[in-house]
Symmetry: D2
């Protein structure tokens, strides 16, 4: 019979038992569950609800169970429903009826959200570390490829020449936002719920601040009803993870494009590509496609959790058990995705020749011609029109801008002078875009300097919040 | 080294290998993979691409591998990437280089969609059977509780009295639509893709119709590019499953409401309810809450799959590997959900007294008073106004409609006669709603008759499409 | 005061009135609402609930209101909440208290789902017609470009040469599935709910079959509770639309790729491309990007509707009012998307030279070499390995397959004979893939023949279900 | 012809023009667009790119256009595509070719994200203000109903008695998290992108910090490529709004439950409820149902935006135009939802008698009996078992806990003494739960005190960031 079965006439139906049990997946939380229980047991003695001797018995029993689970010697029984009951039952089996004192002044309702918060705090720090490492890879890749130029694209059409490092830095700054969102999410998670009991608090003289401090939380929750039904922190994490993998999916898409024969901008390391069961020549960027594809499951996990919460009355409802699998799956997906894309970026070879060739054709310096005229006093809108005509004429004559003579240019506007013949140079174009955040080497150098400051500050935050078990 | 590694200089990086491998979850498809390979091997011999002896060797090797996996004796190695490669490698290990002939004229691209279609066809039939069984439970529950009345609700406010069986039949007809959608989805799935090879078909003189017929498909796919990149059938299934669990979630919500102390309409069997770790008196409808909550994950799986497909160029891309886990999870979720809710409905006790008491108060026959006046010639809109005034007066005087005398009624409209004193009867009200689909016993009887016809026709479809392995 | 205000002491708060009103968007349903009311009025007279004279008054009043709305002369007042009340009030204003007889034996609960079904049936037929027209464009484009070859891609890597028409036909067959899903959705929608009244049916002797037949429905709904709370048909439509726009998004992605400078496969008509406010040379495939982007909103509309329905108890709840805007937005999005992509495909120019050049490089005929060896008796897996080695060697020596001499080939396998020197020909490769559904001209010709049969059968269905108002 | 049409041979096709135009919805941004342009024009003069006179002309032209749009006198033409082009064209019409100087050193790519950020910053402050006002209503409602008790629920089963104010405070603290998330989102939005130009920055000597400070931003964006393709702030807002409306949906669900006849805990003000077109007695909580239903559309808008971003290569792509409608719809939905639910909570009447009666039955003080035994030294698990047996016995004998004599209790455990006869009192139960965050009046008083501090600090933040136009 269940530990809660006093008022029941019959045992739970097997199929209901299987359907409602969460042990299969929530056993992943055993470390956090036991850490929470040990802190709880210490507190119970501290305030005199149980004796020190009883507390010691509980704590050493729990530590033993921890070792058993950790070493794979613990045998789980689905009849125990969840990790909390599995451990409580084992504790009673091990140390006798005193084990039954552990659950004083608490409920599974506050216990599960405690476990989940402990677990997620650690995982957020791990993921944030991986982000920081990936940013460092990007920053390093920028350093070693800084002068390489490529076409900048809008609408997947060549737009203006840019530095390859400028492009990579765009991802660096996206990842900075991801890091910051995770920091905010950490703060949301870093709230100690234990002591909310079933939903209404307890009449025992508990010391919630003591438990909070034992477990490394920075504050306790304010309202017991809210505490047991709040899963905002899970949604916040899933939202942050959705944006993070969205960023990875954008880079993955670019890796797929860049490694296509049509682009030919990068060559993946053989160790990172995959072959075909039928086509002997194939070398596919499968990892990048998978990152792109796995974006879907994280969006799905976010949608799932939101759907669970919609219209749920207070306080705890069993629907909330659905908070875990999507969260775990998201964590399990995002961690290797960051590592994989980082190591692929690190190892891939850049084909600078192809990139620069692509950047130098298809009129990608046309804006420079317009800006030139503007600097001569022509309104931008008129200058744009003039250069549009030049481009149209070039297309008709199958010419490139570099092939135009000064007379050709003067046919369109008398404001073109001899120096306009240098406007087709992609190096000139890149060098000129010195506005803050722009693609000129000097601007990129500033961005790189900033990126190093950011890495430093991220490291500081991580060192403060690193999990030490 | 991989079976496709000829053109590679280095082995795959460990982390890439783990990230891209699908073996962990696609091994669930081993039956279908082997069935497909056996049909393919037969066909290769039939058209003379390999000899009968070679084909026999392939087939008996495959059968042996099937038995090994089935009995848990096969050892999977993640280095094999997926179930296809795991089996092909084992085959070559077992029967030598002739095993390498199996993959002639096919690719993993057409193979995986074949496997998935074979698998899903079986699962659709299983789920459809569970739906039919649940409908039979509902129909039976209607039979035994046919005359019980309850309040019909709109906006969760008591609206008009109805038969409890009428309410259950609403779910019967929802489930019929689910059954039909699954039938359509079965048709979408029942298309044989093998022979599409990588994406372009093959130069071998294969016989696709033979393979199709061997495997019990009703048609072959039309275009090889489409075949290897089409996952419409997965989305269609996830959409159908989303609606199905939405229906279950609506009934689950009602079970939660009905078994609350406030409603008190049903008492769940002790074997279907769950207790609390802290509150000794609790008896909770956890299974119903979980069904409601699990709705989220199926919506999430649908969103995930749609996201995967968005903007994917032809033909096969590795993103498509993400088609499986969400599908499997949906199937694993939906099957026990139907069984659990069915058995709970079957076993729960109805508190007719509470239901009828609730139906008879709060003016739920007010519409009958308005309709009465209409039958006397008053325009409905005016009659509605009159009865609204009566209700307002009753509330002010804290009276029920049954307490009104004929004079009371006449104060509001002279068209009320003595027979109006019967209008407060919920039995009269229910009995009067004889329109087709209405709640009167005679209408409900017709619906029940129809429900039996539907069950019969569902059984027929199932018997034609039942899977026999 | 509202038409339902009899029992209320106060008028509705202004902010509540605005928040709950749906008139702003449901006025789009006025045609359907009035058609439904006219059929209802006819029926009321037919069965004797009202007199023929009354019915005539109702009908001519309604027709007049229809003309007023249609010509923009009707003035809507948000205080009327919704299109039903707006029309009923106008009717009473126009023809006096007999107007109040229209709402006899019905409720807004059955009325709104009637309106929505009438509306959606028409829109489904319109969308299906647009699909068919687009398929015809694809089929025609295939006819005129049939022999053009391009690289077939998997993983966005060149895989095997294919016919351009084969590629377009993949979309033709996707669209056929879309058409069929819409047909199923039409069947789901084609059910007449009126007569379900509020939720329980009615005591008036109505003739639901008459109304159904007047309005062109093929059946009436079975259960009144289900009828007023069923929005399955909306979800089914949104699911079908999600897959449809997913298909368009895939083609849109390809148009973006093909019209990039890197691919250079197609040139969009100037009338279909868009310029840049700053870069004079830009010619962007905005319409294709927008179709890709608009995929999101349709997924969102689907997610929204599913969320609305999750956990909703029977019968009607006001949440269901949220069924309309997402549906309308989906319809308004999908119709021009089909037209736009169709006309762009029709008008775009194919650069055959670029496509065939791309198809002929990067070892895309490697599979043909492996298949050649298989035909000499080498197991496919071994042949694959041999050709993999050849490719690796070519890459190292920067050679193409066409540059290999027979001796070069024999170095890898003695089974290569002189005829192997033709294996690099993309035309030979394409011509050889004659399996059903394959890319050989003969196979594509069969697919085209089938496409014409499909178009014919679609036209037949459309002509049967075309809306004639 | 378009302002960008120089290089085009043909005008844009009408259907493409309509499909791609965003003017219909982005005209909502005119204030922000003009504010941005004025700041840009000032800066252009400040750094000497244009003359002061030119800048003045631009600024006064823009101000005039602002007044025209604001007063409804501006006529929009869909041929202008978007609000940027509409205003630029009007400017040139108004002040001549100098108007064409405005677009110097910028692009629509950086302009649109500037507009959206300016707009969203204001709206976040407005929504945060509404949250704060709603929190104040909750806090006030707590003050005036502080001693009222109700059943606390888990699994919608009565669990333990709580204070009604404790329940409302749960929402107060949820809303505090919403407020904080919006603050974080404000920070993400508060980044000035102008000067990123098309994607690569500009060669003009612009002063981005000046523009930033003119427009009230606290920092400029770091990388131009990232700036024009970043929509993280939109997703962050939609995520925050999703959680916010989820909280409202939970409260809305409770309002629906509480105002049902079964619960009878609250009576809505007549001004906030809605009637039925057919049932004269109905008084429905439509606004609450609609809030619950509208949750779906916000989830949908979030899903839509995430889908748009998935797999999008850098930098600007037209898909991003889809960022606006879902954002606007979310803002338009969330603002009245907060106001409506706030005013309904404020005006609704609490039926304390019903609430306390419900709290005092169904063994909701059972936990107190168990805790009593624990305080006598019995392990909690054993005490739970004992009380479970008592409850089972009571159910069998149809008794309430209050009816048990001390002998009855002693039959189950000798540790029960006379004072146990007070355990059934819900007042005692509530008073005893004094743990921090618990339901005892003393704990609730602390929560209320904290709520006032929170309101104060929110007001401070709002006053710093309030928009003054």
């Amino acid at each position: 019979m269940k530990l809660w079965s006093g008022r029941f006439d019959k045992p739970t139906d097997k199929i209901i038992e299987e359907f409602t049990a969460s042990l299969d997946f929530d056993k992943r939380l055993y470390k956090d569950d036991i850490a929470g229980s040990i802190a709880h047991a210490k507190m119970l003695a501290k305030v005199g609800i149980i004796s020190t001797k009883e507390s010691d018995a509980l704590q050493s029993g729990l530590s033993e169970i921890y070792r058993e689970i950790d070493s794979g010697q613990f045998s789980f029984d689905i009849g125990d429903e969840d990790i909390h009951m599995a451990i409580e039952r084992a504790l009673i089996d091990k140390i006798g009826s005193v084990g039954g004192k552990l659950h004083t002044a608490r409920s599974r309702n506050d216990q599960i959200t405690l476990d989940l918060r402990l677990y997620l705090k650690k995982e957020i720090v791990i993921i944030a570390t991986l982000i920081k490492d990936f940013q460092a890879i990007l920053s390093e890749k920028c350093r070693i490829s800084k002068s390489a130029m490529m076409p900048g694209y809008t609408h997947l059409q060549r737009a203006q020449p840019i530095l390859f490092s400028h492009h990579l830095l765009a991802y660096f700054f996206m990842l900075e936002r991801d890091f910051n969102r995770l920091k905010n999410c950490f703060l949301e998670t870093d709230v100690m719920p234990l002591g909310s009991a079933a939903l209404a608090g307890t009449s025992f003289p508990i010391d919630r601040d003591f438990v909070s401090s034992e477990l490394g939380f920075s504050k306790i929750s304010d309202n017991s009803l809210d505490s047991v039904s709040d899963r905002d922190f899970v949604v916040s994490f899933l939202s942050s993870a959705s944006l993070l993998i969205t960023h990875l999916s954008r880079l993955a898409e670019e890796i797929v494009l860049w490694s296509s024969q049509e682009f030919g901008f990068v060559v993946l390391d053989d160790a990172h590509a995959t072959g075909s069961s039928i086509m002997p020549q194939k070398k596919n960027p499968d990892f990048a496609e998978l990152i792109r594809g796995k974006t879907g499951r994280i969006f799905g996990n976010l949608m799932a959790m939101l759907t669970v919460l919609k219209g749920l009355p207070l306080a705890y409802n069993r629907d909330l058990q659905e908070d875990k699998e999507g969260l775990f799956d998201t964590i399990d997906t995002i961690k290797p995705a960051i590592v994989v894309i980082g190591s692929a970026i690190q190892a891939m070879t850049i084909n600078i020749e192809n990139m620069e060739k692509a950047a130098g054709t298809d009129f990608s310096t046309a804006t420079d011609y317009a800006d030139y005229l503007v600097k001569k006093g022509i309104p931008f809108r008129a200058a744009h029109e003039v250069v549009g005509e030049i481009v149209k004429d070039c297309i008709a004559k199958n010419k490139d801008l570099s092939e135009l003579s000064i007379d050709d240019l003067k046919n369109f506007s008398n404001d073109f002078d001899a120096d306009a013949l240098e406007l087709h140079s992609i190096k000139n174009s890149v060098d000129s875009r010195t506005s803050p955040g722009g693609t000129a080497p000097i601007s990129v150098e500033e961005q790189l300097a900033k990126s190093e400051k950011i890495l430093k500050s991220e490291e500081e935050w991580l060192s403060t919040n690193e999990y030490t078990s």
